[in-house]
Each structure stands twice: as structure tokens, then as C-alpha cells.
Symmetry: none
Subunit: 219 residues, 4 copies
């Protein structure tokens, strides 16, 4: 039993090593400036080996984002499925989940975006393409459900819940991207966390119906 299993585990470990290496490089130098040789040497493997685990550079790239997406999906679904929570509590949990998503792979949020451009998706293998689209859709769906519930319960202003989840995600990624491009990420992780915290606070406040009721009249 042991031998077979160990082989499997070794293989998976290698795959992970490649992903981690690629992640580090893509985030540091960008996708096109990172060469397969760079990645191989960062992973302490040979270039040829990379092709045993990933069809080509594009798929390696996509697989990276897939990892984050999978984690995101799990967390978001978990919050959504927890029927004991009030909508407001769920959003709080959702925000916590986003922090964790960021911590899970701080360097890779950027890549997630380039990927979603359909131009980049075109060349992926059908399997991967489907996986990615599916996960994206499901995650956004779960987030939407949460907001939907809040709207229905009269807590949140009335609007299309998918729009809320889109904006929620855009805000998250926008802030992460901006801080990343200011290169503050490595030096000052907490700075980003504070920015995220404030962003989410503003967003949550803005979403709620009760507080600035009067404003509606003026609009």
C-alpha cells in the first residue's frame, strides 16, 4: 500500500512545488516576463518536468488561479450554507473569508483577473476552462445568495443581488490590486488589511437600509 501511496503523494507534492514557484514568479515579474526556466529553477526541477504536470504555460497559469478559486468557493459556500446566521452576520463571515482568501494566496489575486479575460481563457483545455467558469459562477452565486437574503429581510437596499456580489468582489480585488501595484504588499501586509477593513466597512454601511434613510428623499 505504502509504495503506491507515496508515489501519489510525491507527485502531488511536486505539482504543488511548481504551482508555488510559478505563483511567486508571476506575481513578482508578471506572466510574460516569467520564463518556464525561471519557474523550473525556482521549483528546483527541470523545464521538461513542468510539462509532465502542466500542458503548457497557459495552463500552469490557469491552474494557479484555479487553486484560489477553489478555496474561495469552499469558504463562500460554507458561509452561505450556514443557515443559523443572520444576513448581517453572514456578510461579516464573508468578509472574514475574503481575508483568508487573500492570506491563502496573497500573490495571486492579480493573476485571477488576467485570467478572466476571455481572450486568455480561449487557449485553455476544455476541462480547465469549464472548471474555472464553473467555480467563478458558483462563488458569485453563493455571494449573491447571501445578499439576496439580506435584501429579502429588508436589511439591505433593494437591488439586484448579483450586482452586489459583483461589486463586492470588484472592491476586494480593486483594493488588493492597487496595494499590490504600490508594492506595499510585501513590506506592509497590515497596511493592506487595514485598507480592506475600511473598504468593507464602507461597503457594508453603504449597503444597509436603516441608516441614511433620509438621503433617499433627496435623490
Amino acid at each position: 500500500m505504502g509504495i503506491q501511496e507515496r508515489k501519489e503523494r510525491d507527485k502531488e507534492r511536486r505539482r504543488q512545488r511548481i504551482l508555488v514557484a510559478a505563483n511567486r514568479l508571476f506575481s513578482k515579474k508578471g506572466f510574460s516576463k516569467s520564463t518556464m526556466e525561471d519557474i523550473a529553477s525556482e521549483a528546483e526541477l527541470s523545464t521538461g518536468t513542468l510539462y509532465l504536470y502542466f500542458k503548457n504555460k497557459e495552463e500552469l497559469h490557469a491552474s494557479l488561479s484555479l487553486r484560489v478559486l477553489q478555496y474561495l468557493h469552499i469558504r463562500v459556500e460554507h458561509v452561505n450554507k450556514d443557515s443559523d446566521l443572520t444576513p448581517e452576520r453572514k456578510v461579516e463571515k464573508l468578509i472574514e473569508a475574503m481575508y483568508d482568501v487573500y492570506d491563502f494566496d496573497p500573490l495571486n489575486i492579480i493573476n485571477l483577473f488576467h485570467l478572466q479575460s476571455s481572450e486568455t481563457l480561449r487557449n485553455l483545455s476544455p476541462r480547465l476552462k469549464i472548471l474555472i467558469k464553473d467555480l467563478s459562477r458558483k462563488s458569485i452565486g453563493a455571494i449573491s445568495d447571501i445578499f439576496q437574503e439580506g435584501i429579502e429581510k429588508g436589511i439591505y437596499i433593494e437591488n439586484h443581488p448579483v450586482a452586489f456580489s459583483d461589486i463586492f468582489w470588484s472592491l476586494f480585488s480593486g483594493v488588493v490590486l492597487r496595494e499590490a501595484s504600490k508594492k506595499t504588499i510585501n513590506e506592509d501586509k497590515d497596511y493592506l488589511k487595514k485598507k480592506l477593513a475600511l473598504s468593507f466597512e464602507i461597503f457594508s454601511r453603504g449597503l444597509k437600509k436603516d441608516k441614511p434613510t433620509v438621503q433617499r428623499w433627496g435623490s
Copy 2:
């Protein structure tokens, strides 16, 4: 006199033709998949000519964003300098300005991110680098001023105004990016506008203090 002027104008027109062509291609195929030959042929010029107007591909790329930055700066300063307006009205104007920035060059907002990364700035000519850094700083500064005023007048929650402007910009670009990556850009321009409108509404609501009844009546 006429001859000199016409030459100047022709030259500027060519420069613009190149920028437009590059913009179209970068937006369609991404920076690294657009070749200089592509761009030249899109602009109906020869490759060599591109290099008469731009030092290299990177600089052409950066110049594109510079255009947007310049427009952004002008608009934002204009709002900021208008001392007749209340802070809230200024934010409304600011939001209008953002719509116009988007309309000014819908395809190129994405590029603005890469610009601030020092990795990308490294290869630019000092002149361009300074221009970009300067405009970025000034624009963010002007937006911050607007929020600062609102904070001082007790309209907005208390926090660092630069953080507000950062988040404001992140939200804007995050939404634009997300919609762009959904490739809905060409077909559903208004869909993006609606998203932006909702985003800004949530942001504005979130920014306001819980019971700013008094101010509200005055607006």
C-alpha cells in the same frame, strides 16, 4: 508660419494615430500578444516609424495610460478647485468625472494599474516616469482633498482621507476591470455604467455618518 504649424499638427496627429492603434490592440489582445508590427499596420505606418514617436514598446504602453491620467487629473482638479460646492456635491461631481474618464478611454483603464508598479516604471524614460508619478500623486491628492473637506465638515466618517481616495479609485477600477473581463464591454456599455452607479451609491452612503440629518437638509 503656416508650414511649421502644419508639420507640428501632422506630427501630433500621427502620434495620436499610433496611440489609438496601440490602445485598440492592447485592449483586444493584451500587451504582450500585440506586436509592434501589428500596431504599425493598424496605424498604417511602418514599424520603424513607431520608434520615431516612442522609445520602445513599453514607453508606447505607458504613454497610453499617461493620456488617461492627464485627463483624470484635469477633471479631478477642476472639481476640487470649485470652492462653491459642498463636499457632497463635490463627490457627486467627482463621480461624474469618473464616468467621463471611463468614456474618454474605456479600453485603457486597466493599464493604469500596471503603471504604478515600480517593475513597469523601471524601463521608462525619466521624463515619462516623472510625469506619471507626478500626475498620479496630484490626482490622488486632489481626491483626498475633497474627502478631507467632507470629514472636516463632519459629513463623512472619520478616517484618513487618502485611504478614502485610494478605495474610491480601487472601487472604480475594480468594477471596470471586472466588467471588462466579463467581455461585456462592447455589447453592454450601459451595464457597466449601471454597475458603476450602484457602486458609487453604495460607497457614498457608506461614507456618510449615521445621523448627518442636518447636512442633508442643506444639500
Copy 3:
């Protein structure tokens, strides 16, 4: 063991094939008119492969001269170290060495000039730069030693020995260059040899003191 060694040998053989091809082309068409593709096809390799062995075209060029320099150095040191010989005999041996240097790589003596120009050295890798400077210095030093000895023993006219070695080398390369530029190289190798012989004879005679009768008897 065998496998490792064979790989090493194969690699070295390839390196040599490239050097030989480059040498042939540089000599025939000159450095700038020989393209990397030319060289690759002459060596029956692909362009990319050239860059596995040499950093760039300049460095390939320099490596060629390095080969000659290394050979020159070995030969010259060997003569210099042979303490059994009289200075005059050493110069004779030195002259023989120069013939062999020429035979070792007849087409490439010209390149040796460009090498010493700091303009050419600038782009080389530090390693290569040091190697070249070192070998040049050592070789000229060894030749100078030989002349120095002759001066001290009163055989040669009194002057700075480094000047003698400079002139000796200049004469050698001047003659080789001139004959090369007359394109007689391929057809009349012996013509060049005769020219060299006469050159060295004149040089040797000119070096000797007017009435060195005594030493002469001893030789």
C-alpha cells in the same frame, strides 16, 4: 562515469564547432557582415544553440581571440621559462612560436587587435574580460622578460624591454594583417611565412648592438 565524461566531451566539441564556424565566417566576411544565423548554419546548429554556449555575438567573437591568446601565452611562457637558452636563442624560439601561433589560427590574428580596445571589451562578461586582460598582460610580460635578459647581457641595444615586445608584436601582426588584406593568405601561405621570416630577421638584426662580437661567438 563514462556517460558524464562523454557529455562533457560532446559539449566541448560543439563549442569548438561553433568557434570554428564563427572563425571561418568572421575571417571571410568580417564580424558585422557575419550573422548569427550564418554561423549557426555553418556549424550545423540552430541559432538558439549558439546562445547556450556564448552569451552573445560579441562574446563569441572574443572567445575566438581568447583561444589564440591562450596558445600564444603557453608558447611564450615555455620559451621564457627555459633557462638553458641564451637570449638570442630564446628570441629565435620566440619567432618559431609566432609562426606556430599563426598556424594555430591563421584567420584570427586580426581579431586580437580589436580585443584590447576598451570599446570592445566593455560588453564582455567579467570572466572573459579578466581572462583576456590577464593573458595579454602575461604574454607581453614574458616576451619582455626575454628581451630584458638580452639587454642585461649587453646583446641588445638599451631600451625599455616592454617597448621591444610591443614592437615585436606589432610587427608580427602588422605583417599578418597586410598579407591578409592582400588576400594572398589562402593561395600563398608560404609567401606570408617568407615575409615574416624577413621581418623577424630585420628586427633581430636591428635589435643587436653594433659590435656584439663576443656574445656572438658564444652562441
Copy 4:
């Protein structure tokens, strides 16, 4: 009369300005690294103008050497034709002439060599090609005549006089090239002069029959 003449003179002056500029650049950066634009700007003219005076870059290059060759030829013929002088005195005058040739265009001796390679000559206009070959042949012929006379009068060792003139020229150019590539030229002109002086002294001594008679026996 004046107008026509002045135009002619202006034209010639411009030609010279181009030649001087090209000379400076070719010597500093080499032929292929000097661009026509470089040359034009050094001459304070436009690139287009260069082509009004020279068919192409190669011919501009050749014209440069032609200038030196013409000067060399004049000086050498002058010495040769002066029937009042003894052969030894003629050689002294010849050496003086070489100094002047060097002074006339110190930077351009190197170019003279590249030119003589028939590969480079091939692309020149027939007119220029003939001029160059003719001048070279005539100059070498004149120098040979001088040595011939010395041989006939029993002053110089017996050998083919053309060989002597070839070696004489090779020595001169070899020394100039070597010092040039050591980059000593600009900083220390006199250093080169001293080297040349010593070279010619050795050469002259080596050429003479009378002094080291004994040596012959030993050879």
C-alpha cells in the same frame, strides 16, 4: 567669377566637414557602430545631405582612406624623386613622411586596413576602387624604389625591395594600430611617436649591411 567659385568652395568645405566627422566617429566607435545619423549630426548636417556627397556609407568610408593614401603618395613620391639624397637619407626622409602621414590623420590609419581587404573593396564604385588600388600600388612602388636604390648601392642587405616596403608599411601600421587599441593615442601622442621612432630605428639598423656582418656567418 566670385559666385561660382564660392559655391564650389562651399561645396568642397562641406565635403570636408563630412569627412572629418566620419573620420572622428569611425575611429572612435568603428565603422559599423557609427550611424549615418551620427555622422550627419557630428557634421551639423542632415542625413540626406550625406548622400548628396557620397553614394553610400561604404564610399564615404573609402573616401576617407583615399585622403590619407593621397597624402601618403605625395609625400613618398616627393622623397623618391629627390635625386640629390643618398638612400640612407631618403629612408630618413621617408620616416619623417610617415610621421606626417600619421599627423595628417592620426585617427584614420585603422580604416585604411579594413579597406584593403578585398571583401570591403568589392562594393565600391569602380572609380574609387581604381583610385585606391592605384595609389596603394604607386606608394608601395615608390617606397620600394628607395629601398632598391639602397640595395643596389650595397647599403642594405639583399632582398626583394618590395618585401622591404611591405614590411616597412606593416611595421608602421602595426605599431599605430597597437597603440590605438591600447587607447593611448588621445592621451599620450608622444608615447606613440616614441614607439614609432624606436621601431624605425630598429628597422633601419636591421636593414643595414655594414654593422652586424658577423651574424650572417652564424645563420
